[in-house]
Symmetry: C2
Subunit: 584 residues, 2 copies
Amino acid sequence: MRMSTLFLRTLREDPAEAEVASHKLLVRAGYVRRAAPGIYTWLPLGLKVLRRVEAVVREEMDAAGFQEVHFPALLPREPYEATNRWTEYGDGMFRLKDRKGADYLLAPTHEEMFTLLVKDLYSSYKDLPLAIYQIQTKYRDEARPRAGVLRGREFVMKDSYSFDVDDAGLELSYEKHREAYVRVFTRLGLDFVIVSAVSGAMGGSRSEEFLHPTAIGEDTFVRSPGGYAANVEAVTTPVPPALPHDDAPAAHVEDTPDTPTIETLVAAANASHPRPDRPWTAADTLKNVLVVLRHPDGTREPLAVGVPGDREVDLKRLEASLAPAELEAFGEADFAAHPALVKGYIGPGALGAESASGIRYLLDPRVVEGTRWITGADQPGKHVFDLVAGRDFTGDGFVEAAEVRAGDPAPDGSGPLELARGIEIGHIFALGRRYAEALDLKVLDENGKQVVVTMGSYGIGVTRALAAIAEGNHDDKGLVWPRGLAPADVHVVATGKDAEVFTTAERIASQLQADGVEVLLDDRPKVSPGVKFKDAELIGVPTILVVGKGLAEGVVELRDRRTGEARQVHLAEAVRAVTDAVRG
Amino acid sequence: MRMSTLFLRTLREDPAEAEVASHKLLVRAGYVRRAAPGIYTWLPLGLKVLRRVEAVVREEMDAAGFQEVHFPALLPREPYEATNRWTEYGDGMFRLKDRKGADYLLAPTHEEMFTLLVKDLYSSYKDLPLAIYQIQTKYRDEARPRAGVLRGREFVMKDSYSFDVDDAGLELSYEKHREAYVRVFTRLGLDFVIVSAVSGAMGGSRSEEFLHPTAIGEDTFVRSPGGYAANVEAVTTPVPPALPHDDAPAAHVEDTPDTPTIETLVAAANASHPRPDRPWTAADTLKNVLVVLRHPDGTREPLAVGVPGDREVDLKRLEASLAPAELEAFGEADFAAHPALVKGYIGPGALGAESASGIRYLLDPRVVEGTRWITGADQPGKHVFDLVAGRDFTGDGFVEAAEVRAGDPAPDGSGPLELARGIEIGHIFALGRRYAEALDLKVLDENGKQVVVTMGSYGIGVTRALAAIAEGNHDDKGLVWPRGLAPADVHVVATGKDAEVFTTAERIASQLQADGVEVLLDDRPKVSPGVKFKDAELIGVPTILVVGKGLAEGVVELRDRRTGEARQVHLAEAVRAVTDAVRG
């Protein structure tokens, strides 16, 4: 690779739409270019890194005994109809028709097709266990593609699927994948945390995510000192014991004018209706939040959620609890359709399937029997006090909707939770029999009986992992690739106008190539040393060899991109010095 | 790779829908499986061969100095709108909308995106010439997907694009690609003929196809002894000189009852209206054929084509002449809409833009001034004789529509043509400035003047080439891969029940793998030798090593899949014998 002819233009300015460092730098250093929202073109340098990341993933899959296949991206509707995912996937799936009007989709994942292929080929327990995988282009019509290739609409994914005759087999296959993933991310130099996750639209009994901790991550996860780790959407709230309430006073409606918010309500309660022992706090109030569920079939259902007033409703947790339905805002038209709701003063009296509004009402698990609440009285400027759960109101069920906060207890009693953010780089699912049942994948067991196969599915976001690596390996000057993933092993930079410099750089580059060292050679004749150094720092090859004015004294300079360390090397030693640096 | 765990099922029966050998065998031997019409899944063996074919293509592209990039398959409408291909591509392009209603397509080729990318990165003549390529998944909504991966709707293509500042540069880039293609197909062991072709929807000044000659090919091409070679759609008819017609009799209408076909017309003419010197033949009649053009914008236009009655209209040639319009049948409703047309007796009198029907009328180039014809008189049961072209009728122009026949003269005077069939495995286009103009790709030339860049585009059907290789490398027992493209270098088959056989086969396989020889090991414990041999022949690895009952005498058997030759080899020599066979 020669910079004089390489299809590359580095940019000094950050692209306007880029917010995170990896996105800015991958564009500025000429690795990727945006073709459409969430859809990127890989330029020569980017493609080299992508192939190297893919190679690590492929080697570990092969080493684990998984077999590579390759499915089409364009798939017919029918198998996805059989599992209901054609509908469940909602707006997130690209759908199209062919010239004959038949329905097709661009696959977001391939559970259905792998299931059908195994059904096509295999029929006996002797054929199992089986694990097959592909590294393939996937499509998801993300509502908010962001951060370059970190969350794209066309992206490369490694997806594996395991097939076992029984639960114990699935458990083993799941563990094998989990271990292979640990090896992949370790080799890629990506920090990771394995957290419990919700299975969501995928279904299944158990799932875990591999999260790369970083402040720019879109996923929030929790950890406890005792080792509990979960995606925040998978955190379950420990249910407190029911409280005795025989001595509780009857509920009483009080005037609380101009208190449409929790803050104003607490202030008014303390001012006009103080209790003797301690002041009212937001935790004493019950906040009722309205949303609309949009079900996969397109129907809209209003829903009320009651949570303690000191916590916000976490819409991602709520949505995960109610998957595959998606959330929409409860708008003015919805209020108009439900006159029983008094905005700012909505209480349990107007909520619930059996109520005047008929709106389903789900409660936070902390709202156990006997808890007392200040909450809306369904009249303007009025709240009800001492409203006792289980005595004065009940919901239509419970839901995990309240935000999780640092210090909350872990559900397994392992201590207080801390919160952090991460990028989902892998996700493993013990799917169980959902897909095999829907598509009738059975094999004969040892007793000659037909049994439904049990499956797992396992994904690594390959392009996302690349972005995460870039995110974790940069400084203010540019990218700093880990060795083995960089687009080249060494960046040889010839500086100055002396012809000798260029011929020497060429010769060193040839010798290195002959030794199996991949070289990026900056042989541009009329570019200043400053520009060349800036480009080398931006591109981020880990070792830089400068052939320049030192050549008159028979020395070249070896630079380490990560540490910034530079040392003079005798010309005769240059090739060996680079080879040593590259081979570590 | 072990047959005991390999994700593979060979089939003894041909798949119902398969017509050509490569399709049958690739399915039966477990290389591919159909996911939808024209859409295939690659199983482990197939994927290995595909990667090997890709590697040959990639190596030759890299060796020619072309740089690899990778574009998305899902693309926005706008660039294709700018070049008019969004419309021109008609039903052949998959189109879809995203969740926001924006128009997207699945790219059939990437001229627009490469043009925009170069525009984004480059601005000076100093940056050119440039040639960039990708090996990528393409989509075309073929009306008739057929023959497995030979003509698919999702397929792998290598597409390159060249960018030059002037015509001379384009000529060089075109030649470089042509040479690289010669090397690719030679290395793949694919016979090929380079023929002139029509540029069709792609546009441009010059194009050639690389055709692999085979009876199952969909393309017909011609060759002359003097070296002319062209796709039959690109053949131009030598225009004969005009004939004197001063002494021609006036045209006269004759009764020719019940002569709606050329055959009945010729018989009736000879019976009732004989000419003295020689009998009438079909070549004396002018056949007028009606079709409907469907233009890319959806409008339908009726069209009449007049050809000598001894030739059929070749609809593919006609369609190529009229691209991007597509042909439809002229139906009963169309006849009803044009009462001037008398079915079976249609003549020039009722045809032409200025005629009663108003239907555009295009003539075969042989219908020069002075030629005399028997043709329809536009009355039931009547034909007109001695109708002289240029005196009694003229068309609205000429068109290449008549079939080309063996023995026809080559347009360059290089002798009579012979016809053959082939598979299009490559196509190279000197595009010129069409795309650069539409998308405003300009660079500064040496004089600081903005000039429009001139481009070429060059494609290799990678999956199609694989099918062509399979088609040309099989016998009645199965596939016979060329060395270097097979899914493994050697197929080691352990036969019998003796444990010693299996451990020996394992040991040999390990030694071979250690020597860098890729082994497919048939270690299935309870499968008969007959089944194993049949599978080995079907799968088609070029070298087969049988470890079986000969082991008692210290020998194994080395078989050549292509020649069928087998010879005994001493056990101690087995590894070397295989290595020698593999390395040639």
